[in-house]
């Protein structure tokens, strides 16, 4: 999703970062966060649909924001008063993480080989898979991308979407005319006005385009995923303890979903834990949180304050949001997705 205009900034960033990696690695991030009394987590300079938005009263909301909240809750028991959402642009996230102004980057950032090695970053387990998909006019009757062979497709120019789509089409022998426009809004308008048969973007943008259409039912998002990005939460290298806390937070939210513990029923579950594992996760029996230097009730705190993974998804991207996105690859493995918690023992 990187625009060409941002490349110059990326180069600057690279220069800054190569300097940054020379600096000594920071000490224990958890201690720093506790000392400061607040977690510094990423927001956006404006709005990133579904992941970091601002509501009418100026409060952040979104999937990424909820993970920031879950992390702050894990450390402090509540995120109220213990979380600073720092509004930053894409180009700033790595330099600010390296300089210590951010404790963690939760900004739908793809896990790439170069980031994990050269930039000195450490990725958590994958917390969301962003899928790039195709939407088509329903009247064409297409059921998969292959049915659109010979048609035209709108895509924003110069983005990774354009490149990935072209290579997917080539690999599958599908012949389509790619019509690239400079901005997301332009390609969306071109598709909606009938200039193209289909429109390729990542799934939240497609859901928005469908919302913007005159009649939502006239458009269908095809099941083909032509590219997907594994997104992790990102911390500085050489701080395994802090990385553990990030992974435990995510894993707890997935375990809770798997075990049927939701934000709505977590109090009942804590009062009468159905299994020993749930009792342990919610801190009824000790020994879960203390392993990573957190309080034993951190699992309960997270589910109570933010919810399990499904609660968070449905609120921000699913049925409780305007986007009405299905989980797709972001289902638990039992339901055909790629997400999984650690084994609770």
């Amino acid at each position: 999703m990187k625009k060409p205009a941002l490349r110059a900034l990326a180069v600057l960033c690279g220069a800054a970062l190569s300097l940054a990696t020379l600096l000594p690695a920071s000490a224990d991030t958890l201690d720093e966060v506790k000392e400061r009394g607040a977690l510094n987590c990423t927001g956006h300079n404006g709005s990133y649909l579904g992941l970091a938005e601002v509501d009418d009263t100026g409060n952040w909301k979104g999937l990424d924001i909820d993970f920031c909240r879950a992390l702050a809750t894990a450390v402090f028991g509540t995120y109220e008063g213990h979380l600073n959402i720092v509004p930053i642009s894409w180009a700033q996230r790595w330099p600010l993480l390296q300089s210590g102004e951010l404790d963690v980057v939760v900004k739908s950032s793809d896990w790439t080989a170069s980031r994990d090695s050269e930039l000195g970053l450490q990725f958590s387990s994958v917390y969301v898979f962003t899928s790039q998909k195709v939407m088509a006019h329903k009247e064409l009757g297409a059921e998969t991308l292959a049915d659109l062979d010979g048609g035209s497709i709108c895509v924003p120019a110069g983005t990774s979407t354009e490149k990935l789509l072209a290579s997917y089409l080539a690999a599958h022998g599908i012949d389509m005319e790619i019509i690239a426009s400079e901005k997301t809004e332009e390609s969306q308008a071109a598709y909606l006005s009938g200039r193209c048969d289909a429109y390729a973007e990542w799934d939240v943008q497609l859901a928005v385009a469908r919302l913007n259409a005159e009649n939502e039912a006239d458009h269908v998002i095809l099941p083909d995923t032509f590219a997907a990005g594994p997104c992790g939460m990102v911390v500085r290298e050489n701080d395994d303890h802090w990385l553990d806390i990030v992974n435990f937070t995510l894993s707890t939210m997935l375990t809770a979903e798997q075990a049927g513990v939701t934000q709505a029923n977590v109090d009942e579950m804590k009062a009468n834990p159905p299994t020993p594992d749930i009792a342990k996760m919610l801190g009824v029996t000790p020994g879960y949180g203390s392993r990573v230097g957190l309080s034993d009730s951190f699992g309960y705190d997270i589910i109570k304050a933010v919810g399990n993974y499904n609660d968070v998804w449905e609120r921000n991207l699913g049925q409780g949001s305007p986007y009405k996105l299905a989980r797709g690859p972001n289902e638990l493995w039992q339901n055909g997705g790629v997400l999984f918690p650690m084994i609770m023992d």
Binding site: A16, N45, G46, G50, E53, P87, I88, Q92, P322
Partner: protein, 362 residues
């Protein structure tokens, strides 16, 4: 353009009405072809105006939920109605918005007051601005007098844009005067260094300066030069000063050499010569480019969005950046443009007033 005087003697000049008629005819309908062009132009302008009005007013939806807009053919001003507080105040805590509003009005009041010639005395202006700044910071930061503390990261919207602009100009203008004088210093080393600094800054894009100060500096020297907002304001001020210094220097150099020589002959020393003779005249001559430089810097404040400062433009982006309101991005941008227009247009009208007052260019 009222009465046609039919009862005047025949040899009197024709009445005003017919003079207007003749004037219109000779200007707009001298030949049938030009007459046709005039009518076509009028029709086109009318057509555009009609459609613009229809979109912006007659078919527009002014309040209500997003669904109300979807059926309407015109503009969806409901997005402004629902999200204006976000645009004006950004991430500032909702229940404390009155403080941000008051701080913004205070600044506008101070700016308005310092535009009045009656207050043009160094002492009065200094008191006004120190009080204005203190009041602004008190309201925005809080932490005293029972006001809750609001960290700088939460400041945003139009209030923040105006704050950055004002701080940039207040720091940048004296710096510009200093740089302009240094560049004209008689010591070649000083003049060269000032020239190097000015030309160095002018050859860097603003975005590079902002990026270096906001992102790179904390890595190289953690904690240097204060918070991100402070660093960004310093960067903007430096950028503004480099351009403004050259504008002031052009004003100084346009003065006849006799001015300075006469002042010297009167026995005035350097500072008095500059303060009483050279700079006032230089500023007068440099007024038109100074006003446009101010307008440019006012609009360039929007660049701070790229380093993650939640200014008016970023807040506008957040205002339409939700699933419900995403379709109304055009309306939000039109609204932002309108607000910018009001500010910059007032600025240039004020510049025109100053020019009349000082009789510049006559």
């Amino acid at each position: 353009m009222s009465e046609v005087s039919g009862d005047l003697p025949l040899d009197a000049p024709a009445g005003r009405g017919s003079a207007v008629y003749d004037d219109l005819k000779s200007r707009f309908f001298p030949t049938p072809l030009s007459g046709l062009a005039t009518l076509a132009g009028l029709a086109l302008a009318g057509w555009i105006l009609w459609h613009a009005l229809q979109w912006a007013l007659f078919d527009a939806v002014f309040t209500g939920p997003p669904e109300a807009c979807r059926e309407a053919a015109g503009a969806c001003w409901a997005v402004i109605h629902a999200r204006w507080r976000l645009m004006f105040f950004g991430l500032y805590p909702h229940e404390e918005h009155w403080r941000s509003a008051l701080a913004c009005l205070l600044f506008l009041g101070v700016i308005g007051a310092s535009c009045m010639p009656r207050l043009w005395q160094a002492g009065r202006l200094a008191v006004l601005w120190i009080a204005g700044f203190a009041g602004f910071l008190l309201l925005m930061r809080g932490g005293v007098l029972g006001l809750s503390y609001v960290p700088q990261e939460k400041w945003g919207g139009l209030t923040l844009s105006i704050f950055i602009f004002v701080a940039t100009v207040l720091i940048g203008m004296p710096l510009a005067v200093a740089l302009a004088l240094l560049r004209r210093a008689s010591l070649p080393l000083v003049a060269r260094l000032a020239g190097l600094l000015i030309d160095g800054i002018r050859s860097l894009p603003l975005i590079t300066i902002l990026f270096a100060l906001a992102v790179v500096l904390p890595i190289l020297a953690p904690g240097a030069l204060g918070s991100k907002l402070t660093r960004v304001i310093l960067g903007m001020a430096l950028f503004f000063a480099a351009y403004q210094a050259e504008i002031i220097r052009s004003g100084i150099q346009s003065l006849p050499a006799g001015q300075e020589e006469a002042a010297k002959a009167l026995g005035l020393h350097y500072w008095r010569r500059m303060a009483k003779v050279i700079l006032p005249q230089a500023f007068r001559r440099a007024l038109p480019p100074t006003i446009s430089q101010l307008a440019i810097i006012f609009m360039e404040v929007a660049m701070v969005m790229i380093v993650g400062i939640f200014d008016f433009l970023a807040s506008g982006n957040a205002a339409y950046g939700s699933g419900e309101w995403n379709f109304a991005n055009v309306e939000v941008y039109v609204f932002i443009a309108l607000v910018y227009f009001v500010f910059v247009f007032s600025l240039s009208r004020y510049g025109a007033y100053l020019e009349r007052r000082m009789r510049v260019g006559k």
